[in-house]
Symmetry: C2
Subunit: 377 residues, 2 copies
């Protein structure tokens, strides 16, 4: 029995042509739902996860036994109130929590795909999740939302399905990966590939995985998720269970110990090849280029109401990049709101208990839902 | 014959007690000089190098055959004018360009020290270089200067030898390593240690070095040396010798290719264990703590004239951290000037052709030299 046997999965029978040119079919999309779909099917929210997230957005993840990644924002009575809304969240294509990814078995060879898995894109991820909406026979979603890579999927979703969601809330994201973003992801990939146990991606048959490389990749990413100020406030130069420096390469400082811990727990729940594929999808993301350098064109056929949220201390997807999306939407007269939330917690703010953010998100969703219902949409 | 046989070295016969408690003696300090020491011995500048620098600050490095690291700032007619000044630059303790470091042979065992080399500090580095000043019988330096870790050495030098230099120019540095700085260095160390070829630091006898890990460490550091804007302007999403994405893990983007190149050329000139030791020394640097949390006390016995330079886009040692040094000096009425240079080139600005920086440095040095000479010092 496989650890993913008891999780929800949609087997997509249809064909899906990927951006790389390959066509897939009969592939699994693992998903979770929270709350109840109302009789009008008007209260559905599709939540997209970020790089290392999965479908278990809240509650206890049955595989990792850890809290869901969006526990502060999503759940009964939370900003995304599952007493009110029906939330669908799927593991992305290329992921490692049950959806079609590099650790799946290739039926034609009987072996796991590993590095022979096709390169996938944000566009492919979104198109794969569209089948879930069809599966639930939802004609119109109330909202699509997500942070970071989840936000990129929001943008791509509206571009691909301009009138499938009443509202869209991309959070702390970008319409195209910057050179620094690509550089940080490439750093992570090179760390994995530098691990002798990666074995050119063919490690499934061997008795060990490139955990050291994956751990280094996670540490690098983690540094980029936090602001300099947040790191300084939380750790500063505090020592780890010692009164003085040990004059060794042990983890003298709490920040060292913290990073090592983040790296080591990550490898228990994530697959190195999935990390390669998903970061590649992020780097390839460029909605501007896809629309001849004019981001506005991506949304010109949509009447979706947008609300964009960024955080002051996010240096990975800074407010300036979020504002480019706001400008593109405004330039075509779209219905768009924007807030920059004051937070010193860096990119991770969207995952953390940041009251201003959570209240703003709650307010937008509840008010929009009431208005759109009143208007009879 | 060793590749370091033909470079200048001072063998320090004296004993030097290190911060870790060990005492060393009969150790080499490799150095280079530029220009001529005048008869009064009043025109000497001691230049301290940064993490991956060495004594070959300008001209062609005889070992690597590459340009010296401070070619824009230092040389005949340059800001640090070697037609006028006598410049001394030494490879730091723990380095790998001829000074006493982990690739030296331990005379008691007949084997290279490698990971058994003592943990060294910025204080130890500075004290080791003091012997060079004694060697040249210089009673008073005209200036001590350096950027990044070089700047930390400037601060430590003045603290240890309060009246040994007329002027001090710390550039783009800090008085104590922040949590983010420690995190980035720890990331580099973990990348090296994750490489199976590192073999717990005992790789000298084997036929290969942890080059992949060291290369990843260099990539991580390189990202931190450049600003987000500089990366975007230089690379953006430009593709590397191709018209379209290749849907593979090749270096599709120029930034990927650039980082891989930076990593691969670095391993030819640098030793992985030296990287561990020197980053450790940087992380341990905390001049505030050494003076009971009061940085001013580090300089209270000094009459050295300070000039501090920072760069607007430096996110590794931002202006705010440089200003803390200015504040500490001002609070004891020290002679201190400060400029923040407008540059989009990030931390690397001090190594690059940034005219405002170079002219400011030239102006400070030449004017100060004239005034101090007129005053008969």
């Amino acid at each position: 029995m496989n650890k993913f046997d008891n999780i929800k999965k949609l087997i997509v029978k249809d064909q899906l042509k990927l951006d790389c040119g390959q066509t897939i079919s009969n592939f699994p999309i693992a998903y979770e739902t929270y709350g109840k779909l109302n009789s009008k099917k008007s209260n559905a929210i599709l939540v997209f996860h970020a790089l290392t997230g999965d479908q278990f957005a809240t509650g206890i993840n049955p595989i990792t036994k850890k809290d869901g990644w969006w526990k502060y924002a999503l759940g009964p009575g939370k900003a995304i109130d599952t007493d009110k809304y029906f939330v669908i969240c799927a593991n992305v294509l290329g992921g490692c929590m049950g959806s079609f990814g590099p650790s799946n078995v290739n039926p034609t060879t009987g072996k796991t795909y590993e590095i022979d898995f096709p390169i996938i894109t944000i566009n492919d991820m979104v198109n794969a999740q569209y089948f879930l909406i069809k599966h639930f026979e939802i004609e119109k979603l109330f909202c699509v939302t997500g942070g970071s890579m989840g936000g990129m999927q929001v943008l791509q979703f509206v571009a691909n399905y301009p009138n499938l969601s009443q509202t869209a809330v991309p959070i702390a994201c970008t319409s195209n990966h910057s050179a620094q973003n690509i550089a940080l992801n490439e750093l992570g990939r090179q760390a994995i590939m530098a691990d002798a146990k990666w074995q050119n991606g063919k490690y499934e048959d061997s008795d060990s995985s490139p955990n050291k490389g994956l751990s280094v990749a996670r540490m690098a990413a983690h540094i980029s998720y936090l602001s300099k100020d947040a790191l300084q406030e939380k750790f500063g130069r505090k020592l780890q269970e010692r009164d003085d420096l040990k004059f060794s390469f042990d983890a003298d400082f709490q920040i060292e110990s913290y990073l090592r811990h983040q790296g080591s727990v990550f490898v228990d729940r994530f697959d190195a090849n999935s990390y390669l594929y998903i970061t590649r999808a992020m780097d390839y993301f460029d909605l501007n280029k896809k629309y001849e350098g004019n981001l506005s064109k991506a949304f010109k056929n949509s009447n979706t109401k947008f609300f964009i949220i960024s955080f002051t201390s996010d240096w990975l997807y800074p407010s300036s990049e979020n504002k480019e999306i706001v400008i593109a939407l405004n330039s075509i007269g779209a219905d768009v709101g924007y807030v920059e939330i004051e937070s010193d917690k860096g990119h991770d703010s969207f995952l953390l208990n940041v009251p201003d953010f959570l209240e703003t998100l709650r307010g937008f969703l509840n008010t929009s839902y009431e208005r759109l219902n009143e208007e009879g949409i």
